[in-house]
Amino acid sequence: MAEFDLIAESPLNGLQRAFEGVTVEEVSGRAIVSVAFSDRAGLEQAVRTSLDLTLPFVGNTARVETRDLLILSLQSDQIFVLFPQTGHRPDLEIAEIAGDQGLVTDQSDGWALLRVSGPGSRTALERICMLDLHPDIFTVGAVARTVMEHLGVIIHRDGEQSFLLMSARSSAESFAHAVVTSVENVI
């Protein structure tokens, strides 16, 4: 044991708020690794081989249930991979999968993750999200980059009535306040 220990803290200190019909909670313990690539086919091959998975196209996600792994396809040459954080170097875990087809960057500490769920979640998000979250348009599994209250956000629909929101760690308190205010304004 080292003489000095560093203690980890989550960006929102485990925020959890329950309202009538909507719950807002911080999601922690997820590693986030960015994979940039120049040759989609090459990475696709690597992913198929190691995960038996087809790489999703921009705006879509894919899951590997056995490894609790979620791939967010964010732009034509970049994906984010979310999975349980177990070690100090999640980027190296993904580098093993991507091989020389992907350039990995650890993003686990850069983002605050909030899940907004419940039957009132879409109504609440109408107040800050300019995207059309109608279930026929933004279907379960969809992902998009957008802006809420001037803050960059990645939004992913991970259930009929559940949305995972990712925003920058430094402004997480402002972001959480904006989300909670949106819920409070509609209930």
Binding site: E3, F4, L6, W111, C129, D132, S170
Partner: protein, 983 residues
Amino acid sequence: MTQAFRLAKGGLVDRSQTLEFRFDGAAYNGHGGDTLASALLANGVRMVGRSFKYHRPRGIFSAGSEEPNALVELRRGARQEPNTRATMAELFGGLDARSQNYRGSLKYDLLAVNDLFSPFLSAGFYYKTFMWPKPFWEKLYEPAIRAAAGLGRLSREPDPDVYDKGYLHCDILVIGAGPSGLSAALTAGRAGVRVILADEDFRIGGRLNAETLGVNDMAGSDWADATRAELASMDNVRVMTRTTVFGAYDHGVYGAIERQTDHLPHSSGKPRQVLWRIYTRRAIVCAGATERSIAFPDNDRPGVMLAGGVRAYANRFAVGTGRSVSIFTNNDTGWRTASDLSAKGVPIAAIIDTREISPLAAPRGAAVVMGGRVTGTKGRHCVRSITLAGGQTIECDCLAVSGGWSPNVHLTCHQRGRPQWNEDIAAFTPGGDMPFGMRVAGAANGIYSLQNCLADGRETAVGILDEFGLNPPADDALTADEEAASISAFWHVREGKGRAFVDLQNDVTVKDIRLSHQEGFRSVEHLKRYSTLGMATDQGRTANVLGLAILAQASGKSIPETGTTIFRPPYTPVAIGAIAGRSRGKEFRSVRKTPGHRWAEKNGAKFVESGLWMRAQWFAREGETHWRQSCDREVRQTRASVGICDVTTLGKIDIQGRDAAEFVNRVYSNGFAKLPVGKCRYGLVLREDGLVMDDGTTARLGENHFVMTTTTANAVTVFRHLEFCRQCLWPGLDVHLISVTEQWAQAAIAGPNARKLLEKLVDPDHDISSDAFPFMACGEISVCGGVPTRLFRISFSGELAYEIAVPARYGNSLMAVLMQAGEEFGATPYGVEALNVMRIEKGHATGSELNGQTSARDLGLGRMMSDRKDYIGRVLSQREHLVREDGLKLVGFKPVDTAQELKAGAHFIAKGKEMTTENDEGWMTSVAWSPNLQTSIGLGFIERGDSRIGETVIAADPLREKSIEVEIVSPHFIDPEGERLRG
């Protein structure tokens, strides 16, 4: 008080619900479903305000959002809101309203004296009257005019209400829930597309609620109720009442304001109003039409109302607007007012029609005067009688006027579309060049009969469904009662004395318009500015067409030749609070905090806003009463032993790819291609114009992996610049970028004991001795038992220094652990003030020097502009002005008298020269008190500075009235040879 003018039966008010309210302090009763206007009329309150300019008594004129007269103040205290249209204020129990724009009392207004001076208060009277003497304008005229001007009063307190905004999406936005809107929404809704139906009223139905015409053998209002119920039951339809669509913007985006709690006594902490941005594929404007008046002498007396409004009060609100009503009309709808009121037992005194042939049967007992004209009205605070052109006087306490209907084309013109004149209905209808995706149906399109409106709404929706490739639902053939709606244009009565008002809200008369024309204001836009016709809350909705018809007559042109003014958003007034939404006070913008923020808070940090970031400015210790004490201590302690500073806010960009080195080499002005792995280098990023964009150190972590740092302020700018270079300039390079600013918490550890401190944390398998890890080394190591760490041996302070980065989750703990490890050395945390002092002592540039106007040569960094490679900014940095020998140079300054304090922003003037712009030789960019040198020191740009070391000049500061003599010195005040940082 009894509701003496409430009709015995009928109407859509809830008589089981009695609501008490106050107007000008007196208590009254109304019913659920009333507006303030209908409730006041039900109680016989006729005079509700004073006019803008002449302070003439004014009453309720209309029954809708076009109301020019009945502007009242609502609520009390900080929630007081002026200029609310009584016709739009939904009644609730406890409503407290007051009339406005008078001195003394509403009935006996001292400023009514203005009316006596009306001959002097014609159009443009300010410009003509207050010409002389010139000094009187600011001191006398303007204050006096300002004191008298304006309608309501602001509370002068911050608005305590909450506002919000939101975003909606639909296939079809139907604007207006009258007959055409309901018909269109029904067709679209039944076809399954996503529909939003928005209406400014609290009750769906529009004119269906105001008329007695039926639909499908039902009362119009019953059909509207049934349709609303059907629409509300559809998942694909959203019905929004109390919602005004006020603007049509680009790409099918509409602005709408929803008044969520204005009809309630309290908001209960919920948003009072919500500003919606509605994204649409198509929109159907079913905004109906607004009735206009006829100009005749004294046509502004309380009791003179629009005929359609009078009908609405009777049919919808069960209110008789008088004991004896006369009608003055140029069209058939005026006659409907007579028949509807008569059917409800309200006596009709006379119908005066400007046309020659009687179109319809008059109610029994009503005198009919065809080809007639009203030439005057009498009555002190309410009309008591009217006079006709033949001299006949008719006793009546309400005169219902209809000069025809103007389609509400506003939204169709918001992108500079021009409406077109339609002689058949004597009105403007939408022109061809409408905003993208917009259609118009019903009365807004100049279609006035109910049957045709219903059909037009449906057909318009069917047309859109066809464009979507969808089949329309089966036509269930809406049928409506027949009605007459013919018109013969008649604008104003020439006979009679007294002023004939065109724009009631701005007190603009026929004479004013003629005078404007006579004085050369020929364009309708000029007329508007000169006379104020069509300005203020109602934007001339009852007045504009009338006004330009009179202008057309005066100029001998046709109405189409005269044209209209441009309609701009918003269609109706929108509170500034609603536009601001949540962006007030601390929520005006978001706040960024470093992971170590909480530690800093607990340890006495005072924070400063740096962009969105909160940065520790200094850490006050017990007994320190001035920031300088803290700052000086932090500087001294850092230079003497070791200090720790949170530098997480610096931008960090991960650059990877086979061509990463080439990419970095092209972006920086100095060479990076050969930077060895494990080394950092200071670099300058130039803009295309050759001036400096930013600076920072970039570390090479691997052959194809760099991490670039930027200044805090330029983190986003530089990242955007790099992405532009990557995607647009050099798409062929294999390089990828991602910001890691948020990923890493970073701290600077500076001072002679910096290494000793760090060694206590670094895991044993990493050697950070000076030999193994020299100045400008970098590496990926681990600390505290395996925590991945990036270590950079770089120095901003000039001391032996490192920057250590750990994953942000450990950032708060890192500050505590560093302080704990540094305890034996007396380590101090330091803030940006101390950071600033030390970088000035060292002569390092920051934002004050990299201000977007300076070149590398100005900064004394000309040697960093490589001549062996190409890079962004190279060509334009060679411009003649940028390479001149006598250009600006960054140097240091000291006061000749060390007791004096330097001021940033002072400009340098040669001694003995006048303090003029021509003699300006440069300016002071940064200053600090150096606790090490015990003097004020500064950095600044001055012409040929590098060759003038030792010279003295004047640092002129006329704004702060302080000019002192300063000596030009080297910018490196401390350790110019850099021995300390290599230690």
